[in-house]
Amino acid sequence: MNVALSTPVADTARPKLEVQKLDAWFGNVHAVKDISLGVDARSVLAIIGPSGCGKSTFVRCLNRMHELTPGARSEGRVLLDGEDVYAVDPVYLRRRVGMVFQRPNVFPTMSIRDNVVAGLRLNRVRADYEAIVERTLTQTALWDEVKDRLDASAIALSGGQQQRLCIARALAVEPEVLLMDEPASALDPIATAKIEELIDELKQQYTIVIVTHNMQQAIRISDKTAFFYMGVLIEHGTTQQLFTRPERRETEDYVTGKFG
């Protein structure tokens, strides 16, 4: 599957994902300004910051979804295992860097089962679909709830179930990096807890970048946190340090709830 990106030699010192001087625009709106940071393999990076500060735009640059918006462009480098993602076919890149969106976006014409394996089936990848359906739905804690109605339409599920289905769908193509843009913002507390639990499990295997509005959530699930403000990376460090001993005034104000 990853013809363009053959497996590079493992380099433990190098971050899985490395962003260098990234700028992104929508027409004249400069949404992401000169951001550099690295994400270690099998770790969770949380991105926090007030609405409109460029969090979504930033993560959408990582799998090259940003460039699909008319009038959008970006500059700078994003390295995946040391390879510039802008030098490879975005189609192959997106199989390695999966994405979960803010609003669940299941395919309404497909059954639950077909949604899970959509990425494989649409790409004509032959695999043991049954096993993948069971494994990913179990991972996302959905299996017991849907195992008796896998052929039912996916839109019959609740919002929280749909979002977990979207995560299962992203996992089925076995990406290396998982980008999650406020995956729990439309969910109730129980569904949110389930997703947090899942992220904790997934980081054994995946590198995860998660955008969140919820600072408690960032503290619970992430190893490192980046604070964005008006398109600029204000501070980036271990989650513990960023929340307890922030170096920058803006960070402190934000994490203590003085603004945002």
Binding site: N63, R94, F107, T109, L122, N123
Partner: protein, 297 residues
């Protein structure tokens, strides 16, 4: 109601707290509901009078032989419109083979790549073409196909009908595809599915119910056209399934029977009209059912 408006106009309250008495509101509500019901009834009068007239005058002519036999010569009793039914189905089928791929294809182009200059030109052309009277399209097909070939043919009729189908179908297809949420396209692209396969397997697939509906309505409308067939397929007293021969159609047959001086033919015109109505009604019904099934799924 009045009081509320005055209040807002005078800027006394942003949201009026009391809008007249409960009784006054109930009366206004009743009157308005009554007016709406009357408007609906008025709009339904022409529809039902057409239906009633066609059914009541046409039902006597209907019999098995009416559906299966060739037209009888003047003065002879019996006979049917079998060849006209077959001719209509044949020509509409041919027209669909030409018009559906072109119309749907143009619509896909407009939705996917239609923001550029070419898109604007295509969209504008489709709009103009949709406004061209069908008789003009008939004349064009006459000039393009009938004159060079030196005789009337089912193919010429089908081309005229196809030209009529394409613009509305293209616009309807574009609308249906644009209704598919962007988030679904993104979901597919984010899974590493190429753009072209995303368009086909996700976007078009999601719009399919609407597309089937639009296509069936376009076919039904083509089946009801007379003017473009007068210049192109003309008519035929016999069975014909040869694309290069003149061909009978229900609409032209109705026209011929209706303008004739014979009482018996007038009855047959009503009968043929009822046939056409059943055909088109059937198609529309299928379209409705297809659309209904999709929206439930």
């Amino acid at each position: 109601m009045n009081m509320a408006m005055t209040n807002v106009a005078a800027g006394q309250y942003a949201i009026p707290r009391r809008v007249g008495s409960h009784r006054a509101r109930a009366v206004t509500n009743g009157v308005m509901t009554g007016l709406c019901a009357a408007a609906v009834a008025l709009a339904l009068v022409p529809l039902f009078s057409v239906l009633w007239l066609v059914v009541s005058k046409g039902i006597h002519s209907l019999s098995l032989s009416f559906f299966t036999k060739l037209p009888a010569p003047v003065g002879e009793l019996g006979g049917g419109v079998g060849n006209a039914i077959v001719g209509t189905l044949f020509m509409v089928g041919l027209a669909s083979c030409i018009g559906l791929p072109l119309g749907v294809g143009a619509g896909i182009f407009l939705a996917e790549r239609g923001d550029g200059k070419l898109g604007h030109v295509v969209r504008f052309t489709a709009e103009v073409l949709a406004g061209v009277p069908s008789i003009v399209v008939g004349v064009v097909a006459y000039g393009l196909i009938v004159l060079p070939m030196r005789h009337f043919s089912a193919m010429a009729g089908a081309v005229a009908l196809a030209i009529l189908m394409i613009p509305t179908l293209a616009r309807a297809t574009e609308e249906m595809i644009r209704l598919v949420p962007r988030s679904l396209r993104e979901a597919s692209l984010a899974l590493g599915v190429p753009a072209w396969r995303t368009s086909l397997s996700v976007v078009l697939r999601t719009a399919l119910g609407g597309l089937i509906n639009a296509a069936l309505l376009a076919i039904a409308r083509a089946a009801g056209e007379t003017a473009p067939l007068l210049f192109t397929a003309l008519n035929n007293q016999y069975w014909n399934l040869h694309p290069l021969q003149p061909t009978a159609s229900l609409t032209v047959q109705i026209y011929n029977y209706a303008i004739s001086p014979y009482e018996d033919w007038h009855d047959k015109a009503w009968g043929a009209a009822l046939c056409l109505l059943i055909l088109i009604g059937g198609l529309s019904l299928i379209a409705r059912l297809a659309a209904g099934r999709r929206s439930q799924a």
